[in-house]
């Protein structure tokens, strides 16, 4: 496929599908959770066994897109970018705190790295506590009470953070285009992600 020179490839097809399926699974989990625990919604929807079944299977499937996606070299490169916090990222955080205009960033800024790490950690914890609640003979009852407690509060936190994620996306059409089509405007990339390099190692090394 020929790409116009004013565009940069930000996300490959594999990466976009990992994002899309993870988002769909997570939103389904949140929606079914609301139907199980928000009383007016529960009264409206009912069908408890069906809703529980959908919730459990979408929850179990939550890490699957990422695991399958790891076969993609582009996704592995982005995982390595996201898991590395460099001086550039500390500078970005300082710039946000002092409301400075110039905010240096590689392919991903520090906020996006924190969000990605939050997502991975939250998925693992919500999945682990969910398993404890589902496989009731796996652990003593006290664990299950604790798991339910963590699951409830973390679910609420995930809902809040996800709303924040969607708000950020709504404010930046170019970032959305990157996730929708894979391509972003070169000038946007130079403005928002000046330190973005083709190879993650180089991105990290230049500001060692």
């Amino acid at each position: 496929m020929r790409r116009p020179p004013e565009f940069l490839l930000r996300f490959t097809r594999a990466e976009r599908w990992v994002h899309r399926t993870t988002a769909a699974l997570m939103l389904t989990c949140l929606a079914t959770a609301a139907c199980l625990y928000v009383a007016p919604l529960a009264e409206l929807v009912g069908r408890r066994r069906l809703v529980v079944t959908v919730h459990i299977w979408c929850g179990l499937a939550l890490p699957a897109p990422l695991l399958v996606g790891l076969t993609s070299r582009a996704l592995r490169a982005d995982v390595s970018r996201l898991s590395r916090f460099t001086d550039v990222d500390w500078a970005w955080l300082r710039a946000v705190r002092t409301r400075a205009a110039e905010r240096p960033a590689g392919k991903f800024n520090a906020g996006q790295k924190l969000y990605a790490q939050w997502t991975l950690g939250a998925i693992l914890v919500i999945l682990g506590t969910g398993l404890l609640m589902w496989l009731t003979h796996l652990a003593p009852p006290a664990w299950r009470t604790g798991a339910t407690f963590v699951h409830d509060w973390l679910a609420a936190a995930i809902a809040v953070v996800t709303v924040g994620h969607i708000r950020m996306a709504l404010r930046d059409g170019e970032a959305r285009r990157g996730m929708r089509t894979g391509l972003v405007d070169r000038r946007w990339a130079e403005r928002e992600h000046p330190e973005w390099r083709e190879h993650p190692q180089r991105e990290a090394a230049e500001r060692g």
Partner: protein, 225 residues
Amino acid sequence: MGRRVVLGLLGLGAAGVAAGPYLQRAQDTVAGKDPTGLTGLLPGGGGFRYYSVVASVPDRTPATYALTVDGLVDRPATYRLPDLQAMPQRRIVRDVQCVTGWRVPNTPFEGVPLAHLLDTAGVRPGARAVRFSCFDGEYTESLTLEQARRDDVLVALRMQDAVISHSHGGPVRLYVAPMYFYKSAKWLSGITVTDAVQPGYWEQNGYDVDAWVGRSNGRDDAPTA
């Protein structure tokens, strides 16, 4: 930073599971003293939760409600709400414990002891169990005859000292004080005396038939009766 966020969340999650029972109790204590009811909005907040296994449950008014008693009895009968209200009533105040973990302290239920209805119908020899059906068209429950005759098992007409609302299973629901709350079937419409226990709706999905609070379903809650 880097991977520390992920590891931190995992650590926090594990600590939360360990400390959860204590934190949940603390949250419930605070919620119990909260006059505004705002704590009910917190995740895992106190109070009753609405569970229904069907899409929508029809409304039954005092004019349209009917309870049938049949099966292995000498005198099958159908009762209207005023018939039930005219029978001897009993008020019980105990905690309600759901098998999913939530507990509501000191909840009054009032209604006709199930034993009275069984005696009125005349249970035949050979009967060993009671099956309950509901006007949501789907939910079922069951008790052994011995359990059904306990004096803390009611056909409840009132809850929290008021008429039972539709979302709490009104106008008439079962109340089985010593067992997990799924035994207290909402929207009760039928009582059938049978020769053997037929597992109810959730029991066909893995829950215990003898659902004593604290001694079943792998849980160790404090008994409610």
